[in-house]
């Protein structure tokens, strides 16, 4: 029975989508269908934790019972190892929470039935990708996902930017799909099959010839487009800002994960190129560029959601970097960060959605002081901001610590100064992330409350519950890293490094041994995790500090009274002596010194993010050409 669970958890989402088309006009029926679909999908995924994660079973499932005949996989297979299940759990969790959030959130738009159709289509497509074991099937599901994401980006008919963002997204996204399909075709020409496990077995026999090098470059870049690695990130920023927030959660937390998943499958499983140090350097380089470029772009933004979007890609850069390190702890850090990225990024986008729902704008200049009107949202935002910047009791710290440690160990191991520099870039990026969240917090939730926002109300309960769940998960994954590693991360890491088990589970025992005689071994799966810090102590310390600050504030408040927002004269000198009601530095101006000193760099980047879709395609093709050249030289 258990082998039917993966396919059912995909099909339930699609069936839900079609049922919403049929009965979606009525709100109750729609809510029931969507809740049932996302809950069933999540429950089926959770039910697989025991056999797959803990017992180490790999589920192989042949569509239509077309099992391999004389060593060739003729049908489409679904293969769920710990890595697939890891991403499947992540996806279904984010889909569930964001779906519950959307019920209320989407009432500001018309035709919610179409929204939920596309929403479930997007979810089903992503589930289809991460559970699939067939290269062409991955392409098909990639297209389902891309179309649904494009349509959802264009969903807000009252947002004037929505169609533009969707068009750019479609053009650049179809570029990525083109690369994936061309790579698939070339792989079929070489291996005469489309099954991932069998390709993985056959590619080592035939060795890597120029055609396969070309195919690798194409597949890698194609999945890179889906992960929005650096030259492709502008469209992600546009799409996040224009889409409804609950969709931004999916695009940032789920859609990009398929790209990461694809990169893992292509470079760890199919071509096993991660065994080569040159390929590791390439992926680490791409990750570092992604995280640095996007975080500096984020400092320059004036829109809440656009800023969050750039941070999202910056965190994807962390994941790519740590995956490129190709050591057990590096992969573990990357996967841990993937979970955390989904959680805290989802939380931040949901708070941005709550702000948009309550105030109708996400422009940083028009907001301010919302902590007084929306205290819970402000608290949730602080949790998300602390998590993404890596403040200790929250989850961002654990994964970032693992990534720093992995990069440092790599540097010690290879003796190259470059990997030590990677740690520096990662830390600097983390600091800049914190800086830009200080900016957001200051200009959205603290400071002066504009007159227009006087009667803003807190968001409804049905929207706050998913946010609280996400915040709680942020804290839990932060204080219980041991448990997470034992049951979720370590099995996934083991599965990532164990491609022989993957092949054998699909193609029958002994297939890998027969074909993989002379492979480059990937990293050995030794687990040496961070040494001397205990998250529980940090939690206690954090609580003590929090209590102390609260007590101090309460005492201080009783002394000073309620007049916290009166004008004080000491700021007047900075603002030409005028006596304003409150001297708040506008959200865009907080880091004017930084911006001034880096104006040349920021000008170059601003010109590169020109908003012209031709330019984005050009950067994409240039990036493909660079990757092709790199692969032909070093592979």
């Amino acid at each position: 029975m258990i082998q039917h669970f993966p396919i059912l958890s995909i099909m339930v989402l699609f069936l839900g989508a079609f049922l919403v088309v049929l009965v979606g006009r009525s709100r109750i029926a729609r809510t029931a269908v969507v809740s049932a679909a996302v809950l069933t999908s999540f429950a089926l995924m959770v039910a697989l934790i025991k056999p797959v994660m803990i017992d180490g079973q790999i589920i192989s499932y042949w569509m239509g019972n077309w099992a391999p005949v004389s060593g060739y996989a003729i049908g489409i297979g679904i293969e769920v190892d710990a890595l697939s299940l890891f991403f499947g759990l992540l996806v279904s969790l984010a889909v569930m929470l964001s779906g519950f959030y959307s019920f209320k959130y989407i009432t500001q738009d018309d035709s919610p039935d179409l929204f939920f159709t596309l929403y479930l289509m997007l979810a089903g497509g992503v589930m289809g990708i991460v559970l699939s074991g067939d290269l062409f099937n991955i392409f098909v599901m990639l297209e389902v996902m891309t179309f649904a994401a494009v349509a959802l980006t264009a969903f807000r008919s009252w947002n004037p930017n929505a169609r533009e963002a969707a068009f750019k997204y479609l053009v650049v996204g179809s570029l990525g799909s083109t690369f994936v399909l061309l790579g698939t075709a070339l792989v079929y020409g070489q291996c005469h099959t489309l099954n991932l496990a069998q390709i993985s077995g056959l590619l080592s026999v035939n060795g890597i010839n120029p055609t396969m090098t070309f195919a690798f470059a194409l597949l890698f870049t194609g999945f890179g487009v889906k992960a929005f690695m650096t030259p492709f990130h502008p469209i992600a920023a546009d799409a996040h800002a224009a889409a409804p927030s609950s969709v931004s959660v999916l695009i940032s937390g789920v859609f990009t994960k398929t790209g990461v998943y694809g990169i893992i499958r292509v470079s760890y499983f199919l071509f096993k190129s991660m065994g080569m140090s040159s390929m590791q350097t390439g992926l680490v380089f791409i990750g570092c560029v992604s995280m640095f470029v996007c975080v500096t772009m984020a400092l320059n933004q004036h829109d809440f959601k656009r800023l969050l979007a750039f941070h999202s890609i910056s965190q994807i850069g962390y994941i790519l970097t740590s995956l490129g390190l190709c050591s057990a702890i590096g992969i573990a850090g990357g996967l841990y960060h993937a979970i955390n990225h989904t959680l805290f990024k989802g939380l931040l986008f949901l708070t941005a959605g709550a702000v948009l729902y309550a105030t109708g704008t996400t422009k940083l200049e028009k907001l301010g002081g919302l902590a007084r009107r929306m205290p819970q949202t402000a608290a949730l935002f602080m949790v998300g901001a602390f998590s993404i910047s890596g403040i200790p009791p929250f989850n961002g710290f654990v994964s970032k610590w693992m990534i720093y440690q992995a990069a440092y160990e790599k540097a010690a191991e290879t003796g190259s100064i470059g990997y030590a520099f990677v740690t520096v870039i990662a830390v600097v990026t983390s600091v800049l992330t914190l800086a830009s969240f200080v900016k957001v917090g200051q200009s959205v939730f603290f400071g002066e409350l504009p007159v227009e926002l006087e009667n803003v109300k807190e968001t409804p309960l049905s929207m706050r519950i998913p946010m609280w769940i996400m915040a709680a998960l942020c804290l839990l994954t932060g204080v219980l890293p041991g448990l997470m590693q034992q049951y979720i991360i370590n099995p996934a890491v083991r599965a990532t490094l164990d491609y022989k088990g993957y092949i054998d589970a699909m193609m029958g025992e002994g297939y890998a041994a027969a074909h993989l005689a002379d492979t480059v071994p990937l990293a050995e799966a030794k687990y040496t995790f961070a040494g001397a810090w205990n998250p529980a102590f940090w939690l206690v310390l954090f609580v003590i500090v929090l209590l102390g600050v609260t007590v101090a504030m309460m005492i201080g408040k009783s002394g000073r009274g309620a007049a916290t927002a009166i004008a004080d004269d000491k700021h007047d000198t900075f603002f030409g002596g005028e006596k304003n009601t409150f001297s708040q530095v506008g959200g865009g101006d907080l880091f004017w010194g930084f911006k001034y000193n880096f104006r040349r760099y920021l000008n170059v980047m601003g010109n590169a993010h020109s908003g012209v879709v031709n330019d984005y395609v050009t950067w994409g093709v240039i990036d493909l050409a660079l990757i092709i050249v790199y692969c032909f030289i070093f592979m």
Partner: protein, 116 residues
């Protein structure tokens, strides 16, 4: 397996990329995406082609000894890929219609509210 088809497909792909990179009319960008689709379909079908092979259909009256088929798998893949290409075009053109209504132009260098 025909080399001419392969090279033609690569050239079609390059043409499509060129159109997408340089043409400012967004309808032309969509046409470029179409050209890329044709290139992809051409290369997939050519990979399965076999000199002298016939269509992979068992129709009893036409089958003679010594006949052989071409590879049916890429043809099935191409059917899927054609439909996907048509869907891309449909979606992109509807977006073009809306963009023209909103911006009053089809020039991609004027459709750039989102930048920086």
């Amino acid at each position: 397996m025909m080399l001419v088809n392969y090279i033609g497909a690569v050239l079609l792909l390059a043409t499509g990329f060129y159109v997408m990179m340089t043409k400012e009319n967004i309808i032309k960008i969509v046409i470029g995406m179409g050209i890329i689709d044709y290139g992809l379909n051409l290369i997939i079908v050519s990979i399965g082609f076999n000199e002298g092979g016939t269509a992979p259909i068992f129709t009893m009256s036409e089958l003679k000894p010594g006949m052989y088929f071409v590879d049916p798998v890429p043809q099935a893949l191409t059917l899927t890929s054609i439909v996907i290409g048509a869907c891309v075009t449909a979606m992109a053109l509807t977006l073009c219609i809306k963009l023209y209504e909103e911006y009053g132009t089809l020039n991609s260098s004027h459709i750039r509210r989102l930048r920086g």
